[in-house]
């Protein structure tokens, strides 16, 4: 019984929470406390999924399918498989962290903030569970709104501009994406993901090759902007530097990567393989370009933006090798990237709460003032640059090794990104935490971590270690999920060489 309703419950809990937040009085920390409870409860709900996941069971689980709108037939069809399961848990995990990170940082308009924060949760859960294209599209678009409003409300100085930039960047490709969905519907007469996939697979004559090519491009374009894939990352820097911590944590990466895996690869396998060489090249460029730009950033959040671009490109690289190890690695990498990136954002956020600055040059010798925070910062940094035994290593290794098998040149280029990432991160750590105390650090006395901050960060740090050491726990489901998408590495290589 619970198995059938769990996904609906996961979406409804934050939605009901958001509505209740709308009626709570603006008094003390009531709204924060309530939102924390809601997010913890919904995290608990998401844990039901890995606990009751049936391994070795192909297709979707925890499914629910009901007609939402009769004409044209749109279903409330939700379900989970190995691709989406851990992403849902990840979303659940990051939510309470986001609340804790915003606890004191968001002082004004708290009701609006937590309302939209919870709405964002609804949208993200919805994206991961929807198996009806219109339902999916609904949540996909819905995820833009809270993000844009919160960036506008709580941005640093250029919040409005960043919000519009973010929204337009993602919304315009989404318009074409909608055309593509409707075009698919015009021939297949269904919005159901499973049925569309079947029909596209079994009736190759349904679309001309050119039409299908354009449809697949429209899908990919919308997703690639959201990831973002180089060169569509124009929004990332502004959004990272403006968005409040809790929003910046979730804005990039997982929605786009998931959608590429779920829709671009599964619906258009042939077209995805056609465009793979381009995507691999863009990924390799993105890795190196992001790292090089990160090297010269003066602003901590901008540095993190380009580090993220570089890091996410590993996922793209892994996906378009079509090797099982590359796909699994990409999916694992997005999990670990989200967690590490979130930790990094929280750390930067609490530095900002103390010093009101993201400027690298104003920091220096912070380790002497905040030794405990320094430890956590180092752990996160090392995970981000892919040190073995921490989580970042696993994904990078898998994606790089399969990338190398497919194309030696791009594999080699991408591998230099690992070295570069070590340089920009460690150089930043060196400038911020070590050396002589900067005037700003000297001038201001600040407390080290509070209990709330420790409670936020230590579990994440432990998780980075656990995911790095026993990653097989996650790969059990992931491997099953991506199995239908993968081809033999040899076949892909042959295909690429033939071109």
């Amino acid at each position: 019984m619970l198995d059938d309703l769990i996904l609906t419950l996961i979406v409804l809990v934050p939605l009901a929470g958001a509505i209740i937040v709308g009626f709570l009085p603006r008094k003390g920390k009531l709204i924060q406390g309530f939102t924390l409870a809601v997010t913890l409860f919904s995290f608990l709900c998401t844990l039901h999924l890995p606990a009751h996941f049936h391994y070795g069971h192909t297709g979707f689980q925890f499914e629910q399918d009901a007609i939402w709108i009769a004409n044209p037939e749109i279903h409330y069809h939700v379900g989970v498989d190995g691709i989406s399961m851990w992403l849902i848990v990840l979303t659940g995990l990051l939510a309470p962290l986001g609340v804790l990170a915003s606890w004191n940082a968001i002082e004004t308009r708290t009701k609006e903030f937590y309302f939209f924060f919870l709405l964002q949760q609804v949208a993200m859960y919805g994206v991961f569970i929807s198996l009806d294209l219109i339902l999916y599209y609904g949540f996909w678009e819905l995820s833009l709104v809270p993000m844009a409003i919160l960036i506008a409300m709580h941005g640093r100085s250029q919040g409005g501009r960043a919000a519009i930039k973010f929204f337009i960047y993602t919304f315009v490709p989404s318009a074409l994406f909608l055309v593509a969905i409707l075009a698919l519907y015009a021939r297949t007469q269904t919005f159901d993901f499973v049925l569309v996939q079947q029909k596209l697979g079994s009736q190759p004559g349904l679309f001309g090759p050119q039409a299908l090519w354009f449809i697949s491009l429209a899908f990919l374009f919308a997703f690639a902007v959201k990831v973002p894939v180089f060169p569509l990352h124009g929004w990332l820097g502004d959004v990272f530097s403006e968005a409040p911590t809790a929003m910046a944590m979730v804005v990039s990466g997982k929605l786009g990567i998931y959608s590429i895996l779920r829709f671009h690869l599964a619906l258009f396998p042939a077209q995805a393989r056609q465009i793979a060489p381009l995507m691999i090249a863009l990924a390799a460029i993105g890795i190196v370009y992001g790292a090089l730009v990160a090297l010269v950033q003066k602003d901590l959040k901008r540095l993190l933006a380009f580090a993220t671009l570089s890091s996410l490109s590993f996922c793209t690289l892994g996906i378009y090798t079509f090797a099982a190890s590359g796909l699994s690695g990409a999916l694992f990498h997005i999990l670990s990237e989200s967690i590490t990136g979130a930790a990094m954002f929280i750390l930067l956020g609490l530095m900002y709460e103390r010093y009101s600055s993201y400027d690298i040059h104003q920091y220096g010798g912070l380790a002497s003032r905040m030794p405990r925070m320094t430890v956590l910062f180092l752990v996160t940094t090392l995970s981000l640059i892919g040190l073995p035994i921490l989580t970042g290593f696993v994904g990078e290794f898998l994606t790089l090794s399969s990338g190398f098998q497919v194309n030696h040149l791009y594999g080699t280029i991408a591998t230099t990104g690992v070295i570069l990432s070590a340089s920009y991160m460690l150089w930043m750590v060196q400038r911020v935490f070590y050396g002589a105390n900067s005037p700003m650090v000297e001038r201001t006395t600040v407390p080290d971590l509070f209990l709330r901050e420790k409670l936020t960060l230590w579990p994440v740090a432990v998780l980075m270690l656990v995911m790095g050491v026993s990653s097989t726990l996650w790969f059990r489901a992931i491997d099953e999920g991506i199995a239908p998408l993968a081809t033999q590495p040899a076949a892909t290589t042959a295909h690429l060489e033939a071109r």
């Binding site: 709108i69 044209p72 844009a148 506008a152 074409l176 909608l178």
Partner: protein, 508 residues
């Protein structure tokens, strides 16, 4: 009650119109009995009562056997009732907004409410009429009321200017329409829509019928502010009082779209190859001109004026689909557009005030800090206008473009959806402004609290927009049964597969 069609008394067929007329007359007479300086709020309530009764009468009409009255000049069917309910709903909300947004104690307010009610009579008549001269009468009744309402703030410079512009251009447009009717009569010898449809193929002067069709489309194109007949819109919307703009940007347009549907799909259905080309061009132009124009606007009302041009364009896309789905999509779109647009003008007229204290996008900055509920409603309407899912705006677009793509009209759909991407920019500018931090001593701090009538109006519009976005089935079902009365048989060209789609005709 279930009389056969021919035994239904003719006045049953226009019962909502009769009720509204009676209440309009009551308001005018009561106005004379109220002392010059006293509040005329009660007259507004009389108008509200009349509208409620007219709504009830429209619902009651659903139970009548579909058919015609007054020698085949008016018709009640699912299609006309659909638009009756829509127009009554718009008028109701506009009246509720007007109660507090206008100055109740001025002598003119009696005329204001009477004009709103009489305008509604005209619009209702337009949707029930199946005879072109009667359509013209309805068009004139509704137009003349809106001309006067547009110039209602006599003391300002912009309002009379708006009224004059609207009146001059509007008269031209109605003249075009009337000319078209005359030419139709010349070609077929009748002005009854059903007869035109059957006589048109046998007309000895086909070129005359083309010109007639063109004239009628121009006249109606003006009324729905579709490009290239849109130039009046920004000036008029800017000058007219905001509660009036909420009304005139939706109700007369809905009526005009209903007429356009009847005329294209019914009277001139055999000429579909011609009018689909015309409407294709008008749709593409309206969407593009509307959205590009809106991008540069600083005034909120001008921006919404351009946005209404763009939305007329989206709506026209549905016409080119040549199918029942297209008609249903167009009808649905008028409802969803009306809900969000009346709603947003309710907010704008409350924030801006009757005398347009705050007009620019920048003036709205920080509204979220002063009036969170009002801002929430505004944000919701903007999101719906952008076309984000789970709002009426999304399903409006969704149905329109589904119908278009189903009919093979790919390019227009792409133009439309790319346009809706561009459009997001200017709606977002307002959205971002209201949620930005306020500037010290800005005008938004003086925004009054929400009265309960406004609260009801907002609840109705937000509720309608939300229901249309989450459970659109009911309204779509009504739109579809309306479409079936308009297009009972196979569509004019019996589906997109038999002949080349109209979009291709344009491309060539």
């Amino acid at each position: 009650m279930n009389l056969p069609s021919e035994f239904v008394p003719s006045y049953y067929r226009i019962l909502p119109e009769i009720i509204m007329t009676i209440f309009g007359v009551i308001i005018m007479m009561a106005d004379g009995m109220i002392a010059p300086k006293n509040s005329r709020r009660s007259l507004g309530w009389i108008a509200v009562l009349g509208t409620l009764l007219a709504t009830a009468a429209s619902v009651w009409q659903l139970g009548l056997a579909p058919g015609v009255g007054y020698s085949g000049t008016v018709q009640t069917d699912a299609f006309s009732v659909f638009f009756h309910l829509l127009i009554c709903g718009i008028v109701l909300v506009s009246l509720l907004v007007s109660l507090d947004a206008t100055k109740a104690a001025t002598e003119d307010m009696g005329a204001y409410y009477a004009l709103v009610v009489f305008g509604a009579v005209g619009m209702l008549l337009m949707t029930s009429a199946v005879e072109l001269l009667l359509v013209f009468v309805g068009l004139e009744i509704s137009s003349i009321s809106t001309y006067i309402l547009a110039g209602f703030r006599k003391k300002t410079g912009k309002s009379p200017e708006a009224a004059i512009k609207y009146f001059l251009l509007g008269s031209f447009a109605t003249a075009f329409f009337l000319y078209g009717v005359a030419l139709t009569f010349g070609a077929t010898g009748t002005t009854r829509i059903a007869d035109i449809a059957s006589l048109l193929p046998h007309s000895s002067t086909p070129s005359l019928t083309w010109i007639a069709l063109g004239m009628i489309v121009i006249g109606l194109g003006f009324k729905v502010s579709a490009a290239p007949f849109q130039v009046w819109t920004p000036d008029v919307y800017e000058g007219a009082p905001s509660p009036v703009v909420g009304l005139m940007s939706t109700a007369p347009k809905a009526a005009a779209f209903a007429v356009l549907l009847r005329i294209t799909y019914d009277a001139f259905s055999t000429l579909h190859a011609h009018w689909t080309v015309l409407l294709w061009i008008m749709a593409a132009l309206s969407m593009t001109i509307g959205n590009l124009g809106a991008l540069r606007q600083q005034s909120v009302k001008r921006m919404l004026a351009y946005s209404s041009i763009a939305h007329a364009g989206y709506l026209l896309v549905a016409f080119t689909a040549l199918s029942r789905d297209g008609i249903a999509a167009a009808s649905f779109y008028t409802v969803s557009y009306a809900a969000m647009n009346v709603g947003i003008f309710a907010v704008v007229s409350h924030v801006g005030g009757y005398d347009d204290r705050l007009t620019l996008v920048q003036d709205f900055r920080g509204l979220g800090y002063k009036a969170p509920v009002l801002t929430g409603a505004l944000a919701f309407f903007l999101i719906s206008l952008i076309g984000i899912p789970f709002t009426g705006g999304f399903f409006g677009k969704f149905y329109v473009f589904t119908a278009a793509l189903h009919a093979g009209i790919v390019w227009l759909a792409i133009i439309g959806l790319v346009n809706s991407g561009i459009a997001a920019y200017y709606y977002l500018r307002l959205l971002v402004a209201v949620y930005a931090k306020p500037i010290e001593n800005s005008g938004v701090m003086a925004v009054p609290a929400i009265s309960w009538t406004l609260a009801v109006a907002l609840a109705l519009t937000v509720g309608a927009t939300l229901v249309l976005g989450i459970a659109p089935g009911k309204v779509l079902g009504m739109a579809q049964s309306g479409a079936t009365t308009l297009l009972p048989a196979a569509p004019p060209n019996s589906g997109p597969d038999s002949t080349s789609p109209p979009a291709l005709a344009v491309n060539r």
